[in-house]
Structure formats: C-alpha cells, structure tokens
Symmetry: C2
Subunit: 181 residues, 2 copies
C-alpha cells in the first residue's frame, strides 16, 4: 500500500526541521548526542524532544520517543493520526517501532544513519505491510545541517579523548623524569 504524503511546502518542511535542529542543540548543550525531533499536528508542534540518554540514564529516552510521548499527552491519545514527525537523524529500530505503534502518518528526516537506521538503511520498518500501520517517509530535509551537527559532536568527542590521553602520557613522562632524578 502506497502511503500518500500530506503536502508541505519546502519552506514548511525546513521550518519544522529547524525546530527539530533546535532540539538537537538542546541535547548538545547537555553533553548528549545532538538529535532532535518534533511532532506536527494540523500545522502546530504538539510534541518536542531531544536525546536525553546520559542525563536521564534511561535507555529509551531518544528524541523521537520524547516527542511522541509529549504529542500523546498533548492530544490525549496514543493514536497520533494525522500527525507527522520531523527528526534530524534516521530513526533506529526502537523509534521506528514506536512510530508505527503510535500511527504517525509521515516521517521527515535529515541525515541517514547507515549503522543504525531502521526506516531505510538496515531495515524498512515503516513500510512493512505485515505490521498494522505503514508510514510515509521523506528524507534529506536540511540533511547537511543535521549531519554536520553530529559530525562536529563526534569530532569534539574524539579530540577530547585524544587530549586526555596526551595529558596522561605527559603526566607519566614527568613522573618518570622525577623518578630518574
């Protein structure tokens, strides 16, 4: 069954993705992997969320899960019919499952996740006709911005680890010099 997309203009799509990107920045400010999401219903954002795994020490607090839960609360229903989800990164297995279960109609995402993405990369969970709901997908919305955010975050993380290692090595060298003296 082909799922027909509700029409959004390019400006609208980019507007909602910018809101998801704002959420990703909020994650980053907390030292979290910068991923953000919003749920849109009748032109309004009814759920927002960003990755909070480290802050909450709760494995399921991905951006999409937070946004879906807030949307359920806003609309007073577990059925997010006529709702669309905008997310900066291709959803994982768990989030794809939650998207299908909550009956979200369309998913728009920015960057592809070849290692863990489950809507197109590793699996095509949103179009599996054996499940009781299918979800339309559009990808590549502000892709570069969404992807760059993640690349910068992981580069900084690597640089930080490298600097730590160098500092430790320098400390060891110093201790050896002191011993020799």
């Amino acid at each position: 069954m082909a799922v027909e997309l509700r029409n959004y203009t390019l400006v609208e799509k980019e507007f909602y993705m910018e809101e998801a990107i704002k959420e990703a920045y909020r994650a980053q400010a907390k030292g979290e992997v910068p991923i953000g999401a919003v749920v849109v219903y009748q032109g309004k954002i009814v759920g927002r969320g960003h990755n909070l795994r480290e802050t909450t020490q709760n494995a399921i607090t991905h951006a999409e899960m937070m946004a879906i839960q807030e949307a359920c609360q806003s609309l007073g229903s577990w059925r997010l019919e006529e709702c669309d989800l905008f997310v900066t990164l291709e959803p994982c297995v768990m989030c794809s499952g939650a998207i299908v279960l909550s009956r979200v109609e369309q998913v728009f995402y920015g960057a592809v996740d070849p290692k863990g993405g489950a809507t197109e990369s590793l699996y095509q969970l949103l179009s599996d006709e054996r499940l009781n709901h299918q979800v339309a997908i559009e990808t590549g919305i502000l892709e570069e911005e969404c992807g760059q955010l993640l690349k910068d975050f992981f580069k900084k993380l690597r640089d930080k680890k490298k600097a730590k290692k160098l500092a430790e090595r320098a400390k060891l060298n110093k201790e050896e010099i002191v011993k020799k003296d």
Copy 2:
C-alpha cells in the same frame, strides 16, 4: 556471535515468568491487553511493568518498556548489563529495539506473537549482528499460561462486542415495532 545463556534452573525461570504473569493480570484488571514483564539482576527483580496503553493513552507504554525504565532507574544506569528480561509475549519491534539499546543480556518469553513478534516471528532483531549488541533468547517458558491469558482476554472482548451488537439490534427491532403500532 553466539550469546551464552546465564544459567537459570527451570524453577527459577518459571518463578520469574510467574512474576511477569502477575504483571499481566495487573494490566487485565485495568482493561488492558494482559502482557507483563520483569527485569532480573543478580537474582533480584529490579524492574516490573505491564501494558498500560489505554490507561496512559501513551503509545510506548508496553510492559517491556515500563520494566526496562524501572530497571534503569533502580540501577542508575541506561546500561542493563547482566540483566535478563522475562516477558509473557514475544516482544514487538519497539520493545526489541529497546532491549538491544539497553544492553539486556537475555530475554525469556512465554507465548509467540506471529503477527507482531520481532525477536523470532517477523524479524530476528535480537540476533542482528549489524546492531551493536546481541541478546540471547529462550522461549516457551509457561507458554500455555501466557498464551491462554491473551486468548481469554480477546474472547471476552469479542463476546462483549457481540452482546453489544445484539442489544443494539434488539433495541432497533423494538423501535420498529413501536413505530408500526
């Protein structure tokens, strides 16, 4: 990579599954589809949960998700290493994703779910080596009891709908008789 099972005796496995079944009864008492789960760490139950979708009107409140979240809270970590999950029904896509993300080591479940199960039926998500964690599975623990609970629930639901339809038809017939009079 084959994942080795931590040893539980049959008595232990049935004990923990009975605890998951108790959770399923709690769901049923609230009019929810009776599914329950517990997370076990070093012989102790550190998370319990039952399906709460209708009560919370939140799409992600499956038994496994509730149990995983409680376990994360109990242990103060999103990593549920050395933790095992006992659940009355084969996990769905979302819950399988959450099990992998939270690094649960073993999943024991009762009844198979041919329509929505994602650990063996529709997908084999827990053994996918492309994901960054694999989970061992054992199935068939108190299978009949776990399955019967669900069968009875859905039979009652069908009987209730049938009775409602019959009552409506009887009401319509009565109104027609009154009109004819």
